[in-house]
């Protein structure tokens, strides 16, 4: 197996990831890539609470993730890699090429962001970042839970609040 899901989700570890995706994928590990979380013992302890027994949780800065990527790809267990924002995923793909697909799972409302889906709000910079990911070879789709239809990036960026 390998990393089965590369996901952008500003809630990082939470129910949709652990239960919604983690159970059907039968994940053995989750990689949380975030420079701030990787530098905070308190934040790491908090997120450890959210992972069920039997699932390993690895914390990494973007630099550490790029260095550890091959080992995670070679892992015999299915895994999930998470970033909290588009820019972190973009930096990671630049440092560790070969990410085949990126799942936009949750980027919530904040000032300056426009609603694309009820769980995806984007600034113009974030839209450019997602386009750059796709142009770099990753298939970018929006999908909050496995039972939802994966929405291609083009459709996502054409979407408005009504969808």
């Amino acid at each position: 197996m390998t990393i089965e899901l590369y996901r952008i989700d500003d809630r990082l570890i939470h129910g949709q990831v652990v239960v919604g995706w983690g159970q059907p994928l039968n994940v053995g590990f989750i990689v949380l890539v975030d420079d701030d979380v990787a530098a905070s013992e308190w934040e790491k302890e908090l997120y450890r609470m959210g992972v069920p027994p039997g699932v390993d949780l690895y914390f990494a800065s973007v630099k550490e993730a790029a260095e550890g990527m091959q080992a995670w790809r070679d892992d015999q267990r299915p895994g999930i890699l998470l970033t909290g924002d588009v820019e972190t995923m973009r930096r990671l793909t630049a440092a560790a090429p070969g990410i085949p697909a990126v799942n936009v799972g949750g980027i919530h409302h904040r000032s300056g962001r426009a609603e694309r889906l009820r769980y995806v709000f984007l600034t113009p910079d974030e839209e450019r970042g997602l386009r750059a990911l796709q142009e770099g070879g990753a298939i970018v789709t929006a999908q909050d839970v496995p039972s939802a239809r994966p929405m291609p990036l083009r459709e996502l960026l054409d979407s408005g609040a009504q969808k």
């Binding site: 500003d10 809630r11 990082l12 570890i13 939470h14 129910g15 652990v18 239960v19 308190w42 908090l46 997120y47 609470m49 959210g50 992972v51 069920p52 909290g84 949750g106 980027i107 919530h108 409302h109 904040r110 009820r118 769980y119």
Partner: protein, 138 residues
């Protein structure tokens, strides 16, 4: 009942609204809880919503639905900033019923709020209320 402190119930989707509504239906008590949802909110926004509502209501007890969820993480982050509050996670209806119906007299100078003790009891009540039952042939 009006001097009884309110508590926040924070959950996914409409779970908080539903639980609070059920408490009201069962007990007739309508002034004990404020229901909040994480719907459409990022981590920071959930925490800010919770902080704002706690300040506005004076609530010092937070019930969240899922230990591994964004609501509970937001409450835990707030707990770090505000050691004068308590958080109960994994909330269910028996827990809220206990909290709603237990007397919570005002605390004296330097005393811990009675609501903290009742919240702890509510956590235990909620946990022990779960049962597995199987039918038996007649």
């Amino acid at each position: 009942m009006s001097d009884t402190p309110v508590a926040i119930v924070l959950g996914h989707g409409r779970v908080a609204e539903g639980l609070v509504s059920a408490v009201e239906r069962i007990t007739g008590i309508t002034d004990r809880f404020v229901a909040l949802s994480n719907e459409g909110l990022g981590t920071n926004e959930i925490q800010e919503l919770l902080r704002e509502r706690m300040e506005a209501t004076g609530a010092r007890v937070v019930f969240t639905d899922l230990p591994a969820g964004s609501c509970n993480f937001a409450a835990c982050r707030l707990l770090r900033l505000r050691p004068d509050i308590v958080v109960v996670t994994g909330v269910n209806l028996p827990a809220l019923l206990h909290f709603a119906t237990s007397p919570q007299p005002a605390a004296g100078e330097g005393e811990e709020p009675a609501a903290f003790k009742v919240a702890e009891e509510a956590a235990e009540r909620g946990a022990t209320s779960m049962r597995f039952m199987r039918g038996k042939p007649a």
